[in-house]
Symmetry: C2
Subunit: 197 residues, 2 copies
């Protein structure tokens, strides 16, 4: 890896951390300079500006999530198992990349039109991927319910950044199992039991 790429990678990693801690808008380029060990002006040799930095963090992270999910679900053929694999991958990836995923989840609307569209295109593919899995798992469910259920699941998984403590007593695998149990058990299996309630 060329020194240039290493420096850029380093900058992106530190930026993700600071964005996650202070929020994108509250983070100044001077904060990022301090966190990366570069000078204020020096960062502009690697990146066009503050927003380009956020876009790079988001695009790279999202691309990894998408690719990882596709690979994770490929291992199973049973519809329920594929959904479980999707959940397990998303949650463990989230826990292993807390800063980047928080930036992805919480700063989704901090990009301006052009860059926003580019990230949204990846997001669309990712959402479509899950909705396809849900169609296979619960084909008799109304379309509106399936769509809402997909977002409910994303809610459970993406909300993690608001409370999850990696040093706490529940590890990522256990958390993934819990969320998978809630979702699959409640959405695919508890139809007649509770629905009418």
């Amino acid at each position: 890896m060329r020194p240039y790429d290493e420096r850029l990678e380093h900058l992106l990693a530190r930026a993700a951390k600071v964005f996650a801690e202070k929020g994108y808008h509250s983070t100044t380029m001077r904060d990022l300079a301090a966190a990366s060990g570069m000078s204020l002006a020096g960062m502009y040799y690697y990146v066009r500006g503050k927003e380009a930095l956020l876009a790079l963090v988001q695009e790279r992270c999202f691309a990894r999530v998408l690719a990882g999910a596709e690979q994770a679900i490929a291992a199973a053929t049973d519809p329920v198992e594929r959904v479980q694999a999707f959940i397990r991958h998303h949650v463990t990836f989230f826990a292993a990349n807390l800063a980047e995923m928080k930036v992805l989840s919480h700063e989704a609307n901090s990009l301006t039109a052009e860059r926003h569209r580019k990230v949204n295109a990846i997001k669309r593919r990712y959402v479509d991927l899950l909705e396809g899995l849900l169609r296979d798992m619960a084909s008799d469910e109304p379309r509106a319910e399936r769509g809402a259920a997909a977002y409910a699941l994303f809610g459970m998984m993406n909300w993690i950044y608001n409370w999850y403590d990696p040093a706490g007593e529940i590890d990522p695998d256990r958390l993934a199992g819990l969320i998978a149990r809630i979702f699959v058990g409640g959405f695919a299996e508890a139809r007649s039991t509770v629905q009418g309630g």
Copy 2:
């Protein structure tokens, strides 16, 4: 209601809307002046500053949610029904107060220390309320699982602001029913079925 209180209420309502649309940090006092029909300086007669405005929006909204939830669960005695009532109230309130609830969910960390603590105190009570309900509903569940499940549920419910369209085909009651079905069905009833998976 005195004219003063009406003007303040008006300002808070408009501010919540703009905060929800553009995000707190991207909103300028000039934006709020334009949205409220007041002048830039005029707003300072009603409010100490921008952050005080955010704090007021959050505190008032959160107090209403908490009070409403306490009232909603009081109507039932069965543990499962109480959890369902909590969910139904939270989701329908969220849908009926989208702007305020988005500001509450998305700008939770936009307040500085003092005001942050004040809002967090209300949040603590609200989270405790749900955790108490879960204890009654699933007393044999490990404590760590119950805690994580509470946050998973909040994730499903609070994520709403990222995707829910009030003009869409799924109305708040139906959405509340779906989320309640997923959570209760998956957490309280699908223990042995899926867990080992």
